[in-house]
Structure formats: C-alpha cells, structure tokens
Symmetry: C3
Subunit: 437 residues, 3 copies
Amino acid sequence: MTIDDLRGAIDQEALGRRLYDCVRDLYPICRSITGDGVRETLRRLQSVAPLTVHEIPTGTQVFDWTVPLEWNIRDAYVMNLRGERVIDFRRSNLHVVNYSVPVHARLSLERLRPHLFTLPDLPQWIPYRTSYYEESWGFCLSQQQLEALEEGDYEVCIDSSLAPGSLTYGECYLPGESMDEILISCHVCHPSLANDNLSAVAVAAYLVGFLGRISRHYSYRVLFIPGTIGAITWLSRNERIVPRIRHGLVLTGLGDAGRFTYKKSRRGDAVVDRAAVHVLRQLGDHEVQDFSPYGYDERQFCSPGLNLPVGRLSRTPHGCAPEYHTSADGLDYVRPTQLAGSLMACLAILEVLEGDRTYLSQNPKCEPQLGKRGLYHTIGGLTRLPVTEMAMLWVLNLADGEHSLLDIVERSGCPFGVIRTAATILCEFGLLKEAAG
Amino acid sequence: MTIDDLRGAIDQEALGRRLYDCVRDLYPICRSITGDGVRETLRRLQSVAPLTVHEIPTGTQVFDWTVPLEWNIRDAYVMNLRGERVIDFRRSNLHVVNYSVPVHARLSLERLRPHLFTLPDLPQWIPYRTSYYEESWGFCLSQQQLEALEEGDYEVCIDSSLAPGSLTYGECYLPGESMDEILISCHVCHPSLANDNLSAVAVAAYLVGFLGRISRHYSYRVLFIPGTIGAITWLSRNERIVPRIRHGLVLTGLGDAGRFTYKKSRRGDAVVDRAAVHVLRQLGDHEVQDFSPYGYDERQFCSPGLNLPVGRLSRTPHGCAPEYHTSADGLDYVRPTQLAGSLMACLAILEVLEGDRTYLSQNPKCEPQLGKRGLYHTIGGLTRLPVTEMAMLWVLNLADGEHSLLDIVERSGCPFGVIRTAATILCEFGLLKEAAG
Amino acid sequence: MTIDDLRGAIDQEALGRRLYDCVRDLYPICRSITGDGVRETLRRLQSVAPLTVHEIPTGTQVFDWTVPLEWNIRDAYVMNLRGERVIDFRRSNLHVVNYSVPVHARLSLERLRPHLFTLPDLPQWIPYRTSYYEESWGFCLSQQQLEALEEGDYEVCIDSSLAPGSLTYGECYLPGESMDEILISCHVCHPSLANDNLSAVAVAAYLVGFLGRISRHYSYRVLFIPGTIGAITWLSRNERIVPRIRHGLVLTGLGDAGRFTYKKSRRGDAVVDRAAVHVLRQLGDHEVQDFSPYGYDERQFCSPGLNLPVGRLSRTPHGCAPEYHTSADGLDYVRPTQLAGSLMACLAILEVLEGDRTYLSQNPKCEPQLGKRGLYHTIGGLTRLPVTEMAMLWVLNLADGEHSLLDIVERSGCPFGVIRTAATILCEFGLLKEAAG
C-alpha cells in the first residue's frame, strides 16, 4: 500500500476518536523528564506502536549536559491546621512544581509564599512550572486559591524522591527501501497537559502504526523523548545515525482548535520545509514561521553543529494561547477532529517526502504527442486545459533532471498529488524516466 | 539606418491602415495546419515579405510527431429537407470542425447532434473547433442556430479531402553582422479569426519589411508556421540552427483593444524577457506572465531539451476574452492603431536587443571631468541634473565590463534610448569603450 | 573606553550646543573649493580635531582632472548711480557666483541681467550658484531684489582673484589595532550654508575628538575636503591607502529637522550599508536610498574602478527641501538636538562596525547547558524568554563561523548591542570563541 492509498482509506472520524481516547488514557499520569510517569506512558503506547524503551543512567554525560537524578513523586499537599488539604497533588499533578525536592515542614503562610506560583491574570487556572536543574520545591495553584488562603501555619508535604536512576525514552524504527531516514519526534515529559503534548504523542504513536502498513522509501525513526535533555541524550548516543536523517518533524500541540503552524528548520529551505508549506497551503488557513532558537526540540536538532532539516508542526504555537502551560490545557482543550486532521497533515507531508523524485523527459525536444497515446483531448480550440493534462505538460516541461516533483509543484501551483499522478502516467507511457542518483 | 532612426520615421497611422488591410485580405481564407489555405496565405504575404515557402511531405517523422495528411475543403453544409442550408460553410468557414473527414449522408437531428458544437453561454457566436489528430467530423454553429433546428432529417455534406500531401510553412531569413539569430514566430493555421492570428501574421510580415531596411547586428529568422506541428517540424529540421538563436518572440493576438501581455520564456530572466518588460513598462499599462507550458509555440521553443530564450508578446492573452476562438474574433475585433502599436512595440524590444552592449569606462577611478568636454552644465549648485547628464553618470558608473546597457537601464530606471544615447556620446569622446567578447 | 561606554557617557544636550556653536563660528566664512575660506575653516577646526592641512598646487593632475586656480574674494557689489549697493557681498557671500572672475564695469540693467540668478518660485531667498570650471561671473539675489531694480546703469564690482595657488584640505588619521580603515568624509567648500555642510563638518570634527578617546579596532581617516575635486585629489594622491578602506561614510546635511536618510554604497550590501540600515531602523522613522551616481563624494568613492564600501548619511537629502542651496539654509535651519542626534547615529553605526565579529560555538552539537552556568532562568515552563537569554540562544545557534554578529542581528531582529553583549558573556564563559581570520 502506498501512502496515498492509505490516506484515502482512513476513516477520519474513527481515527479522531481513537486518538482522543489515547490522550484521555495518558492524561492522568504525572510525567516528568525522568521517572515512572514516562515509563508508564511508554508502556501504554506500546499497544499502539512497537516502541523500544531505553534507560540511560543518571550521571551519563551527554554533550554539555548530564543525565539528572531520577524524580518520582507519590503525594504532595499543603494542609491547614484543620487538616484540610488546601493544595492537593491528588486533584492535579500540576499543583507541584515538577522536580520538587522532598519536603515535610510546618510553615507560616508568609514563609510559604515564595514557594507558591500563580497566574494573577488568569485567576482560575493553575500554572505548570518546573525546576529540573536547581534543587528547589514549590506549589502551583490558582490565584483564587491563593487569595482564599488564611494567614497562619500550614503543613507542607512533598513526598517525592530525587535519586540515581535513569532517563527513559521510547524509540521506533521502521526500515524502508533506503537507509536514509525521516525523523519524527515528540516530547513525553509534560504531566497532565492534554494538548502539550499528549496530542502529539498520540498522533506520533498512531503515525507509527500507519507507517508500518505502507511500502516505505525512507526508513522512519519516531522518538518519544523528554524535552531538551531527551533530545540531547538521543543525539549524543546516536551520532552515527545523524547523517542519515534527510527530513524531520518535531510534533507538538496538535489537538487544539487552531489552524496549523509550521516552523521552518534553521536551513529555511529544506525539502521538509517546502513540503510542509505546500501541504498547509493546500489545507487552507495556516501560518509559517521562520526558525528561531527557542521552542521545542528543533532547538537541538537545528543546533549549528547538526543543522538537521527538521521543522516543527503545531496548531496554535506554544505561548500564543492563554491555555499554554496551565490547567486549562485539559481534556476539553483538545478535539478529536483536530487530532485526526493533524495526523492526516503529517501523512500528506510524508507523502510529498516519499514521492518526491526527479525525472527526465524521454522527448526533451518539443512536446511528445500526448494525443496519439490517448492522453490529450481530441477536440482542439478549447480555452482551458483539463487539470491532469496541464499537470502532464508541466511535468514534461520541467523533467530536465534539475527539477524535482516538488519544484514542479511550486512552479506550477498544482497540488502534489496531481503532479505525482501525472508523472506516474507519463512513466507508464515511457515518456518519463527517473533521473539517476 | 538604425532601428531607432526607423522607429522615428514611421507614420503609425498609415502603418495601421496597411496592417489592417493585410488582415482584411487574408481573413476570408480557410486555413488549417496543412492545405491550400496556408499556401494561399503565404503567397499573398510574399508581396509584403520575401518569404520562402517550404513543403514537408505527409508522413515525415518530426521528433515524436508525424506530418499528417493534408486537409482541403471545398464546401460543407447541413441542409433541411426543403433544400435550405441551415449551416453553410460558405457563410463562415468556422462552421466546419477543422480537419473534418468527408461525409455525405442523411441523418436525423438526433443522430446529427453529437457532431454539433455550440457555445451555450454566448448564444450568437460560432465556436472554432479542430480535430487534427482524430478522424472525425463536425459542425460548429451558434446556440441560436441550434435551437432553431427542427426535428427531422438533414442532408449533411462535408466536401473535404484528407490525403497525402504536405505541411506548408513560410520562412524569412535576414542576415546580420552576426550569425547569432533573433527568432520571430507566428502561427498561420487558424481560419477566419482576425486577431488570432492574422493580427500577428500581418505584424510579423511588415516587421520583415522594416528589418530588411536597417543595419542589423543580429540575423533574423521569421517563421509563418502552423501551430504546434509547424513549430515541431521546423525545429526538427533545423536543429543545427537552434544554438544560434539568442532571443526570440512568439507573436499572437496583437490587434485587439487590450493592453500588452508579455509571457516570459521558461528561463524567466532571458535578455528578451528583460527587454520586453522594460519596453512594456515604458509603454504604460501592461501585464507580465510567468512561463507556463500551455499557450502557443513557446511551448515547443521552451521545451526542456531546447529551452530557448523565447517569450511571447500578445495583447489580451488567449482565453482571457470571450471572443477568443469564436466568430466574434472578426474584422471588427482588431483595430489599425492597435496593430501599429504592436509593431512599434516589437521594434522597441528589438532596438534593446540590437543595442545592448557592455562597456568599459576609460576613467574608472573617479568620474571623468565631463565639464571640460562640454558634456556637463557649467553653473553649479542646481538641485536636479538634466536627464542626459544623469544618464551619462549612470553609464560611466556601471561601465565596469559587468553591466550591459540593459543592466544599467534596469538599475537606473532610465529609458533604454536615453542610456544608449549617453553611451554613444561617451564613446565618441573616448570616455567609454566596448568591452571585448 | 569602548565606543559603547562612550555613547553611554555623552551628554547629548551639551554636545548639541557645542556642535551648534561650531556651525555658528564657521558660518560667516566665504568658502569655495580653494582659497582662504577653506584655510580659515580648517584652522578653526583644529581646536576641535587634530587635523593635518594639505596644500596641493594649482595645475596638479589628479586622474582626469586638474587642480584649478585658487580663488579668493575680498568684496563685490552692484551699485546704483546714487551710490547705493543694491547687491552687497558684505551682507551675504551667496550674492556672488562662487569662483566669479574679477570684474569692474558700468553696465545697463539689460546687459547685467544675464549675470543675475534668482529663484522665481522662492522670491525671498538668494540661490547658491558656482562656476568653478568656466571663467564667468555673476550675482545671486532674491527675486524680490531683482524686481526692485530700476532700469538704468549700475557699477558692477567683483574684487576677486583667480590665480595659481593651491587646493587645501584637512585630514585626520587615528591609528587602531588594525591597519584596515574606516573613512569619514565631508565637504568644506560651501560658503554661508549652515546645513550644507557645516552641520556635517561640525559632526565630523567632534567625531574625531570622540574617536580619539576610545580603543579602536579600525584605524580612522576623516577628510575635510572640497566637494568633487577634493575627493578626486585625495583619492589620486592616496591610491595605496584605498585597499585598506573597509567601510566609509560621507556625511552631509545632518542638522535640519528631517529624519535620517541613508544612501547605500554602489555595492548595495556592504557591511556599512547593513550596519546603517540596522541602526536607523532602531532609531525610528528613516529612509534608505539605493545608490545613484549623483549626490556628494560617494560619487567618487563609488566610481567603478574604486567601488569602495562607502555610503552617505544625511537627514533631508540634498535637493529634497526648498532650503537646499539657498540663503534659507542659515543658522535657523539647523538645530542643536539634530546635530547631536546625528553624531550619536554615527557612533552607533561605528559601534556596529567596530564590534562586528564572527564566532564559533564551542558546543556546536545541541545547546550548551546555560542553566548550570547561571545564564538561564531556573523556573521552567514560562511562555516567553528574557531578552538576553533569547539573544544568547541566537548567538549560539548561529555561531558556526559563517554568521557575523550583524548577520545574527538581521536574522534575529535583536538590537546589535543586545547581541554583542550576549556574545561577550558567552565568550567569558568559554562557550564561544572568535573565528580565525
């Protein structure tokens, strides 16, 4: 099955439901950049995608970084003297600053305050905060909760552990005809945040399933990794694979109601950049951003010594919606249709990457006579040409070994599928041959 | 005489009348891609332009194509049982689908209908249709005519012949100082359609006359050929000439009331493209189109194995006016002033191509002192410089052997004539020399 | 002291007063392209800038030009028969056409008229006119004055001398770490015109003073020269220095109320062009012009055989304000704040040129861990990054030896100072090293 056949066969409504169920299943787990939350997440994903789980010990040097102590948490709360949990980890794992060191103490509100984080402008929402690389602890709560706290003493408890262990990530490898690889990466380190990034985790996992069913030109590598340290760890341990990566996508925030946003690779004109721009243009309203060195793991893939052709596909970009990194990024914030549409967009981009080829016209001097082969209308004098005939003329005109199908798509304005089909027909009639190398 | 002297000497009103008379003379002839219509057209043009007529036998292989059987027609009609010609070739040669095979039969309206072509949205006009490469027959008529046809039987007659013969085209060669050539091409295969393409046929024929009177840097080759098969035939038989073609223009639809449209060559930045864009910009409102592989014979000249620097000059582009390929493209649709303006635009483009040179300043370090040579105003302190002095400064500043006059025109925004004059003056004063090679 | 330290330490209000005083001091002097007016101007500037005065004898060949006779003037008038000076050089030195030959005669108004220059559209203002290279004489006056002249005879006197002498110019050289030079040039040949060019003369002179106090990467050469012939003379005598000029600015018209205008060098993408565009963009409303071969001495510096990377900084460009080259360009037309702002803009441009470097990240694969060095916020999850951290990420991402800081500035949109500071910090932490060569 080709990727285009696959796309045609997908029931998007059913797909949306499955993706949403996956997000809902993973949502309650308290993930971090290390620890059992990631392990449990990967374990559950194995039912969807055949991923291998890697454990990298605490203390391993990865480029300029070191794999940190492993963090796990069982419970956390702030309790008033009446024994009421006024902040309770069991209600939302966002309540604890991620990677908080253990603490059990009695503190006045005044001394507790520097450890409390709120969003004064969004008084009902709990922020998501982390402190991976500085030993510290804290609680996140809504501004309303904060204002309701009475003066006085509180029992503060974070039942966490920060101890030697390992960093866990998942990896899927699907071999193709070529050793050249397409890399797909998503971060799995955020706790109960649905769009960021369970949406992309679900899309990536189902993508693995679909890619397993098609005949692949490229080999595919799909990473489920903690943000930053996970990408650095993977890159540090897989330097020999890096040169094989021909195209790549970081996936994040693919379930919200917003339009697509594609952030270009550092190169800016990589084939994946051009493929994504073409696909999103066909899909309608969208945004294209130039590369910048802030964001998700494209930061690492596009560092100057690697400079990989890796872009990022999102819907509303991180930081551009108020729900970003708050408790409002919950199960209501993501939509089945958006999840399914995101997976379909990924497949459309991959279809371009898979199908992009360069051809040589076998009749480079003047047009070949399409009519005698039944490829051209027989009544002449018409004002406009049928789309497929126009596409054949474009392909023949640019099949000089220097224009790939994507080049032809860009110059002609025709959709990739139409151009690809035209090329296939012309090949069948011996009018076109794939260019060597 | 230089081409600029020529342009200055032309009486455009008289020229417009002559061009229009030429169109009117050729209009009634029923032309096709082969046959006596083309022969008679070329014979009449010989009084204007000294063209050589070539006959290429049916069956000759020309690249992927074969020269077809020759088609001629004497009469055609659809007659009702009262003996009235309800469709009559003698009234308009558009009534017969061009290249219809002979037929003589009695048919019911019902069985006749699949052979009838109309324009339902333009109910008074007869469409122009062809069937060159599929043996078939048909009639074109107005929607009003069609609706007036009564049920019943009709006598259908197309007194045509489709038999071995030849394809006919005309060619003019005007040698210049250089063996390098400028190609001008127009199609002569359309029957009674005035703008498409008798307008361009007349312009091309008179252009030959004018070019014969000037001192030419380039050699010129002007082709009067049937569309598509004619261009393919000429290219196939003249491959040794192709490398000499430095610039080229396909001419079509030059008599209607519309503004100029220039369609760029496949290269997009050929000198002829830049010259045409400059000239049309000077002339006022106009349109520039990127290359596409549909249209007229630029399709063949710009096929990937030839990739000639050949653009197309038109007024309203084919397919963009309702009159296109209908009986409404008659003698009223073309205007003498538009025909003359088109020829003048061709000359202006050729003036740029003829006059474009690269120079070296003989005083490249600092400006030479123009004042002591009488080339500069003597009273200083003025706010603005006279146009010719500004042009001299531009030419001197860019005469580094890497900028042609057309480059200087584009960078300075000055008209080509002004820049060319400035260069000529500077050469006379020894301040400039033509760069070698 | 670095140039950025210097910029921070300047009291702009006091600077504006000093620049304005300098303009006022020089305003009454009657300057020309040669003669005592230039000598006196340079003598007074020596109290501000340590400039060397050069005298080049009349008759010296300088490229295609010759150093002209020296012109000096003591008095000039047109007197009516009642003994009243109706035009009087003592009231404004603009009244005499600059470089007028001596004359003493009695003439009717009718015979005098061809020697009188006015601005009919600006009837109250005296124009500024010159006749350097044609022996001639004339008077400039307001249209109102002209209209008030009664018919009859007048005594005409120009007590000038045109005799062998020399052309005078001033030059300042400030050595830096590198032999590579930055050239700054202004013309000192205009008589009582405040903006054109005493504004730029004052700015250039004070710039010398400031540059003398900083540690300089580049060597600086500041020229105070008569327009055109002065630039040609200097270039002709200093051809061996020309290859050392890495960047340059022509300064003119820097005191009027208008926004900044930067005219690009002939190259169009020289570093000085990009630096100036960046600085003016940061400063707010401004205009950038493409190079043209008319204007001030950039014409000579950018002649094709030199093609130096020299742009021009002005406020309202010459010829774009009615006051240009008229008596309305007086002491009221320039403003202390504008003068000071212009000098600050020059320093800002020079700061970019001085500070532009290319670096290599010492951790090119993935980001280095900024957090463990205290260079990164410790609480994660925030929506937006602090400006300096963002700047560090940009510098690290583009520190591949192929992007200079100015490249990074252009791509990131961050101000140069922020990027430069980020690079400095990263160097201090060993994360960045300057690229060789």
